[in-house]
Symmetry: C2
Subunit: 462 residues, 2 copies
């Protein structure tokens, strides 16, 4: 009867199996509209299940309108259920998840060394913060972040960067990427053009392009953005990395900072300052953010991913007053808020200065690795290259005058087991920085760095 | 000399204070370009600080390009630093954070009762999951969610809703809001019109409007979307809540489901199925999702916020193959991924069937509260009202024929200490459902519900 096959050890109840089988037969037309179903008693006997099971299945079908039964008459299939077989072919696309290629040495950029992250301490903070979390923070606790974290971030940017910021101006985000995504939404009402450093972080470029922005590139030299190249234009904002230009490493000098702010004022545009890794500066204190020079025009973006661990997903913006209510509205309709445990743990981690200690330790470690990389380069390559930018961050930009590093070079490196990114990958106008490579060293041990430089040498020799 | 005031008990170092004071004087023009600074020795003596402190401040100024010093000559202020006083007025907008108005009884919708959430059990899961988290999940671990959670969700939708889904099709999101936000981005290339139930969740409406969609409303009756009203049009998608229409509560009957899918096929549009609270159905099992009828055309959105706690921020979509790579690209440029601890804890919570138990317990509790609300209404109001929709969810839609509930009524309720949302608030075409109110009861104790009904009675009498 009706060709129903039941699987008694399946995770799905017998009633649901009966329901599904009957439903499929109705939408596929094997059970026709108006057709009578067997009584629950008959069906139960036929399938060797209890009558209750069949009743449950019939009730499901009835409550969803697949069958109709009137008092004293038979149960019948409802009208209008027929569906042709699905008309969209199931495409068998290969899953393109994260690359699983295994490099011998992976010089990719922006990677903190997670092996030195004090996990057990952090887990204690997570545990304590979770246990102490007030009732209301299990519910919707606000798009702007929990108060304790906003306060702790305000204190942190004050003591680490000399920024005087009200915690009311700090808005917690899911990392710097979300910050930029939301800022792009926010600023899109002001115009469709945006200025960016060239080269720049290609991921950030794509965020802005994805929001429909037309990108106007501004060239970069050893000191960062070339403010002399700024021309009157229709841009509503400029995205910059003044503390440590990504990827070339320059610190924007004071004269250019002042010029940039004057330009922004004259052309009435906002400055998005991405301060993505200024914590790791090896000769001298972190550079003071641009936003201290004009907090109403510069929107500051910071992140803890590079300091703690990438999966944390906590960044923040320091937002001028005029954007506060729009920001709240936007965030509410994008993803509402960050989850609370990490926020509460980070607030304590900041308050008890554990972050400061971690930054100090990592700065020392990364500084040593930078020296090892420079030394290994000199031993292997002599003087054909020189480094760009300031002594800071997790990667180094190296210039090899006269060389041309393109995709075929990247591929050759990959075949030799090393990942190297040419600066050209991050260029908007291709071909300008063909002679430069980026080597991320923050996550690599001395042995790995030396091995990587040897492999790089062989690749360049070819 | 130079009018520098130092605060010795401030959290900020003396060197940084000197640096900031000098920097401000330069950008404000009190120190002019080319002007010589006092020697470090003089300055140290004048400020009664160590010479090292002054040297540190000068180094900061020098490395950022504020001052220039040549061997053997005096240190001078760099050129081009002058900035006019900020030209944007600081607006003193009142902070418009979460409302702090305190209601006697708050009948708002969509609130699970957090007092019954098994927090200590959940915290155990968080702790265990955090400790066991593999190294690679502290880094960028994939836009689609951690594998264990995708698997656990696939099993959960199979056993609770009869959906047969590959874990490869499940993409974890920061709640249903983000899911819809990303889907709107994804579908925007197919067109700029979208069909929505009217009334609908006003927050979801705003997500779609925020993405630039033109909303085409389709009326709703007691059984949900009126598929008879669907006309040929230019929409690229339709957003529906077939398991429990928000806010009116209907379950879309099978005939309409089939009609909806036929319509979508004929007009080549996608169906976004928001299954926001189908777990809480009090007479019978959860309704089978629409997507089981056509998984290549229906995009299913589920969430755990209503089941567990809102701040969790974990939802998911079941995505047809053709969208996978676009989805990954989008998520990478929106906020990269969810943080890992909650994901790992939820995976275990699902795997060990703790969620199933919690849903059973809450369903029972919410069902009782619903009965209490209905009973209290009947005692107070007699027969002038009747409930709409299916016995499910966390709120009830009530019709009072002949009544008109508008904003002035909401205000009157607020003055009496109760929050009540008229259905009209969620209407796209205003004025159609003026005689209906929404009462969220899931988070209220019996006493609160009865008190609220009494207060409501008084408001309606006025």
């Amino acid at each position: 009867m009706l060709g129903i096959e039941l699987h008694r050890n399946s995770g799905i109840s017998l009633a649901r199996q009966i329901y599904q089988a009957l439903r499929n037969q109705m939408t596929e037309g094997r059970l026709k509209q108006g057709e009578a179903l067997p009584s629950t008693r008959e069906m139960a006997r036929h399938l060797s299940v209890s009558r209750n099971t069949v009743c449950e299945a019939y009730e499901m079908l009835s409550s969803e309108g697949f069958i109709e039964s009137r008092q004293g008459s038979q149960t019948r299939v409802a009208n209008g259920l027929l569906l042709e077989k699905t008309d969209l072919p199931v495409e068998n696309i290969e899953e393109s998840g994260p690359s699983t290629f295994s490099y011998l040495v992976d010089f990719r950029t922006g990677q903190p060394d997670l092996r030195y992250f004090p996990k057990s301490l952090w887990l204690q903070y997570i545990r304590k913060a979770s246990e102490d979390l007030p009732q209301e923070q299990w519910g919707y606790s606000g798009t702007e972040g929990i108060p304790a974290l906003r306060k702790a971030i305000a204190d942190w940017v004050f003591r680490s960067k000399g920024m005087t910021v009200s915690s009311q101006d700090i808005f917690v985000t899911s990392g710097a990427t979300q910050a930029l995504h939301l800022l792009a939404e926010l600023l899109s009402v002001y115009g469709k053009d945006i200025l960016m450093e060239d080269p720049c972080h290609i991921g950030m470029l794509r965020v802005l392009q994805g929001k429909g922005f037309n990108i106007l590139p501004v060239p970069v030299d050893k000191q960062g953005l070339q403010t002399d190249s700024l021309k009157r234009n229709s841009a509503c904002a400029i995205y910059v990395t003044p503390s440590h230009q990504f990827p070339l490493g320059g610190i924007l000098p004071a004269t250019r900072r002042a010029a940039l702010i004057r330009f922004a004022r004259e052309n009435d545009l906002f400055i998005i300052e991405d301060d993505y890794d200024s914590e790791f500066r090896y000769c001298g204190p972190p550079v003071a953010p641009l936003c201290t020079m004009d907090p109403q025009r510069v929107i500051y973006v910071g992140t803890f991913s590079k300091i703690l661990y990438p999966a944390l997903r906590i960044g923040y913006v320091v937002l001028p007053h005029k954007f506060h209510s729009q920001w709240r509205y936007l965030r509410r309709h994008v993803d509402v808020q960050n989850p609370p445990f990490e926020q509460a743990a980070l607030a304590e981690y900041l308050r008890t200065r554990k972050l400061d200690r971690h930054v100090r330790q990592m700065r020392k470690l990364y500084g040593q690795r930078r020296e090892i990389l420079l030394q290994a380069m000199e031993e292997k390559f002599g003087r054909v290259w020189h480094p760009w930018g300031d002594a800071s961050g997790l990667h180094l930009a190296l210039e090899f005058p006269g060389f041309h590093f393109d995709e075929s070079f990247t591929l050759r490196c990959k075949e030799s087991g090393i990942r190297i990114t040419p600066v050209d990958y991050h260029s908007i106008h291709k071909g300008v920085h063909l002679d430069k490579l980026l080597l991320g060293y923050g996550h690599l041990e001395a042995k790995e760095i030396r091995k990587g430089v040897t492999l790089l040498y062989d690749c360049i020799q070819k």
